[in-house]
C-alpha cells in the first residue's frame, strides 16, 4: 500500500503537518526515533507539559501533542529511517515495516552547533540542550556547581528553568563578543521590533529572572579541565570550579538526510550553517521531498508549526486534493504566523552569530574517532580541500555519529587552513544507513 505523505520527525513541524494533512484527507504516516512525540523543543511534553518550572511556552506544546495523538494517522515511534529512495518513494525503516509514500516531508529539526573546546569530551561536560532534555523528560537537574557557557536564547531560558526548579547555575559565561549588542539593536531597529515584540518581551523576562546569577560577558578562550571529569572551567583571565559545564552556541539544521539525498543546499551566512533550499511551502529541489521546520533553517517552534501546515497544504495540492488557489488561500494565516515568528530572527542572528573560532590544535574535533584540530589543519595543508577527502585521510566523521558532531568543525578548520570559506569547503556527503542499524536487521529486510 502506498500512503500519501510520510513525515520524518514528530516535532512541531512534523506534528503540525500530520494534523493538517490528515484533516485534508491524506493518508499519513509519521515516524520518529523517540518514544513520544514532541521533538526536542517539546520533548516529554505529555509528561511535563504542566510543569511551572518549564514555563508557558513549553506548555503550548501539550495542545499540539494532544491534537497529534487524536489525528487519524499511522504513528511509528522509536523508528529510524535508514534509507530513502525518493524516486520510488520507498522508506527503509528500523522499528516499523518499510513504507511507500507519494510524498515525503523531512521534519528532522535541528541539532546544537558543536562547541569544540579543549576538554569538551570530559564527563561532566554536555550541551545545554542535553541538560534541558534531562529536565523535561525526567525532572533531572544538575547537582553541585553548574556553569552555563556560550550564547543563544537557550541559555537564559535554561538558567531560568533551573532557578525555578531550585537548582540555579553558579555562573553564566557569555561568549557573545563585546559590542555585539549595538549591531544587533541596529538590526532590530531596521525592522522586526513591533512584530517580534512578544518574543523580545519573553527574552527580557528571562534575563530579568536570571539577573541574580553571576555572569561574565565577552568570554574567550573557554576550556574545560579535569582529570577524569570536569573539575574547572577556564577562560581568558579567569577560572571557576565546576561540576557540570553546559555548552551552547545555538542550533543548526540537521542536514544529514537532505545531504544524503543530494538535495540542493545553501550556506546561510547569517546563521553560519547549511540549509536545504526550499520554497515558501517547504518544497525542496527534489520533486517528491519537502523540508519543514528548523531542518530547513532555524526559526523556532512557532515558525516550524506554520511551516508544517504549509508543507501539508502543498502536499495536498500536489496530490490533487486541493487546487493551487485553495492551497494559497488556506496558507495565508500560516504565512502570517511565520512572518511574526521570524520577525526577531535577524536580531537574534546578529546578536548570537558564532564568534570566529580559534580552536587550539589539541582540541578534539571528531569525538568518535578522536581526531584533533591540529591533525585536520595538517591534512588540509597537505591537500584535503574538503571534508570528504579529510574523512578519507583521518577517519573523522567515520564513527557512529557519522559526522554529525564534527562536520561543521572540520569544514571550518579546512576553511581556516586553506584561506577559504566554509561555503566553498562544503559538507560531508552522508550515505545510508542514516543511523546505524544492525547487520541482522538489514539481512532480514
Amino acid at each position: 500500500m502506498t500512503i500519501d505523505l510520510a513525515i520524518i520527525g514528530a516535532g512541531p513541524a512534523g506534528m503540525a503537518a500530520a494534523i493538517e494533512a490528515a484533516d485534508l484527507g491524506l493518508s499519513v504516516a509519521v515516524i520518529d526515533e523517540n518514544p513520544a512525540p514532541g521533538g526536542q523543543v517539546f520533548r516529554g511534553v505529555e509528561r511535563a507539559g504542566g510543569d511551572p518550572a518549564l514555563g508557558a511556552d513549553y506548555a503550548e506544546g501539550l495542545a499540539l501533542a494532544r491534537a497529534f495523538r487524536a489525528a487519524p494517522i499511522a504513528w511509528h515511534p522509536a523508528t529510524t529511517l535508514w534509507h530513502l529512495d525518493p524516486e520510488e518513494g520507498y522508506l527503509s525503516l528500523d522499528g516499523a515495516p518499510d513504507l511507500s509514500a507519494r510524498r515525503v516531508l523531512l521534519a528532522t529539526g535541528a541539532q546544537e552547533r558543536p562547541v569544540p573546546i579543549l576538554g569538551w569530551t570530559l564527563p561532566g561536560v554536555m550541551t545545554a540542550g542535553a541538560a534541558q532534555i534531562l529536565l523535561k523528560t525526567a525532572g533531572v537537574v544538575p547537582a553541585g556547581r553548574t556553569v552555563l557557557a556560550g550564547q543563544g536564547p537557550l541559555l537564559p531560558l535554561l538558567a531560568a528553568q533551573y532557578r525555578r526548579a531550585g537548582a540555579p547555575p553558579a555562573l553564566i559565561l557569555e561568549t557573545t563578543p563585546r559590542g555585539r549588542r549595538r549591531a544587533a539593536l541596529a538590526a532590530l531597529a531596521a525592522g522586526g521590533l513591533w512584530a517580534g515584540r512578544h518574543l523580545l518581551w519573553k527574552g527580557l523576562g528571562l534575563l530579568a529572572e536570571t539577573r541574580a546569577i553571576p555572569r561574565r560577558r565577552g568570554v574567550t578562550g573557554l576550556r574545560a579541565e579535569g582529570r577524569n571529569r570536569v573539575e574547572r572551567v577556564v577562560w581568558e583571565g579567569g577560572s571557576a570550579a565546576c561540576d557540570t559545564l553546559l555548552l551552547h552556541e545555538g542550533v543548526i539544521p540537521a542536514t544529514h538526510i537532505p545531504m544524503a539525498l543530494g538535495l540542493e543546499m545553501s550556506w546561510d551566512a547569517a546563521q553560519r550553517c547549511w540549509r536545504p533550499v526550499t520554497d515558501a511551502y517547504g518544497a525542496s529541489s527534489h520533486p517528491n521531498v519537502a523540508v519543514a521546520g528548523d531542518g530547513a533553517g532555524i526559526g523556532g517552534w512557532e515558525a516550524a508549526v506554520a511551516a508544517g501546515h504549509l508543507a501539508a497544504l502543498d502536499a495536498a495540492q500536489r496530490l490533487g486534493r486541493l487546487s493551487a488557489e485553495e492551497r494559497d488561500r488556506r496558507a495565508r494565516p500560516w504565512l502570517a504566523l511565520r512572518r511574526r515568528a521570524l520577525a526577531l530572527r535577524p536580531f537574534l542572528d546578529a546578536l548570537y552569530a558564532p564568534a570566529p573560532a580559534s580552536i587550539p590544535d589539541a582540541t578534539i574535533a571528531c569525538r568518535c574517532e578522536e581526531v584533533t584540530a591540529g591533525q585536520v589543519r595538517a591534512a588540509a595543508r597537505l591537500g584535503a580541500t574538503g571534508p570528504n577527502q579529510m574523512k578519507a585521510y583521518l577517519r573523522c566523521g567515520m564513527g557512529p555519529c557519522q559526522g554529525r558532531l564534527c562536520g561543521p568543525t572540520v569544514a571550518a578548520l579546512i576553511a581556516e587552513a586553506r584561506g577559504t570559506t566554509e561555503a566553498a569547503v562544503g559538507l560531508y556527503r552522508p550515505r545510508a544507513p542514516y543511523k546505524p542499524i544492525t547487520v541482522g536487521t538489514l539481512a532480514r529486510l
Partner: protein, 373 residues
Amino acid sequence: MRDESFDAIVVGGGLVGAAIAWGLQRQGLAAVLLDEGDVAFRASRGNFGLVWVQSKGLGAPWYQRWTRASAGAWPGLAAELAERTGAEIGLAQPGGVHLCLGEAEFEERASRMARMQAEAGNAGFDYRMIGAAELREMLPGLGPAVTGASWTPYDGHANPLRLLHALHRAFVAAGGAYVPEAKVTEGEAAPHDFAVLAGGRRFVAPRIVLAAGLGNAALAPLFGLSAPVRPQRGQVLVTERAAELLPMPVTTIRQTQEGSLMMGDSMEEVGFDLRQKPEVMREIARRAVLSFPWIGRLNLVRAWSALRVMAPDGLPIYDQSARYPGAFTANCHSGVTLAGAHAHLLAPMIAAGALDPALDPFTAGRFDVRAAS
C-alpha cells in the same frame, strides 16, 4: 600563464596515481600529482582494502604473476611509508580464504583453484581446499551454511585510506608537488613533451602518466592512448569497531585494523550511478550473516557505493603511447592489491622510459585484436 615544469606529470591522485607518483619521486624524478577536488568519482575512497591474489587471473596467468609480484612488493612499500611518514598502514598478509556456502560453491571453487594452479606452470600456485571441520578451527563462529573454503598463503589486507594518505604524505615529503582541485581540462602531446591545463595552471613534462581512473577513457586519446574503461558499481558495508576476532581476511569479509567488520563486493553494471540499493545491501548482509552469524549483532555504522574502473575483460590496462613516447596509462580496479607493483615495479619502468615486455599482455591493443578477429 607560466609553465610549471616537472620530470613527470601524473594525472589522478587516487591509489594508482599516488603509488606511481611516489614510485617516480622515489626514483629521483620530480613529479607533479594532479588530483580532483573533494567530490569526485573516487574508487580509492571506496576500496575494500584487500591485498588479494587467489582470485586473480584465471585464464590470464600474466595477471596472476603481476598480482603475486605486487603482494611480494607490498611489505617493502608499507615499511618505507611507515619510515617516512610514521603512518601505520595495517598491512597483514596472513593468507586468506574464500568461503563457500553450500556444496555446489565448494566444488566450483575447487575446480577453479585447480585450473589456476595448472595455468601457473613453473611459477607455482600454492593453495588448499579446506573442509568445514578444519575451517571451524581456523575461523571463529562460522555458520552452518559454510561448507569449506579455498586458502592461499599470498593473501592479505591493508587500510586503503591510510595508504592513500601515506602515499600523498611520502610523495610531498620527498619533494613531490601534490595539487588538488586540478582536474585536467586540456592536454597537448608531442614525443617526450607534454603539457596539461589543470586548475587554472599549466604543467609541462617529458613524461605523463594517466591514472585518472574512469577519467582515463576521455584523456587517453589526447595522448595517443586508449583506455576503454567503464564504471562498475560496488557497495560496501562497515560495522562499528569490535574486538579482534578474524585472524585473516575472507574474500568478501574482513576485519579492519580498527576492528570494524567490512563486507562487500557487489558488481553492478549501472553506469555512472552512485546510488545505494537496499536490496543489494541486504544480499551482502545476508551472505555475511550466513558466513558468520555473530556479525548480525553488530551495528552497521557506514555503507557506501563506489565505481570500479573496469576494462572490458576485467584485467588492468597498462600502456605506452607509440605515437607520443613518454605517455603512459595505468587502469585497474585493484588499487590496493597492485599498489606494491605500481610503486616498485611500474614506476621504475616509466622512469626508465619504457614498459617491460612482461606487461605486453596488458596493452589496450588487446581489445583491437579481438575486434579484428
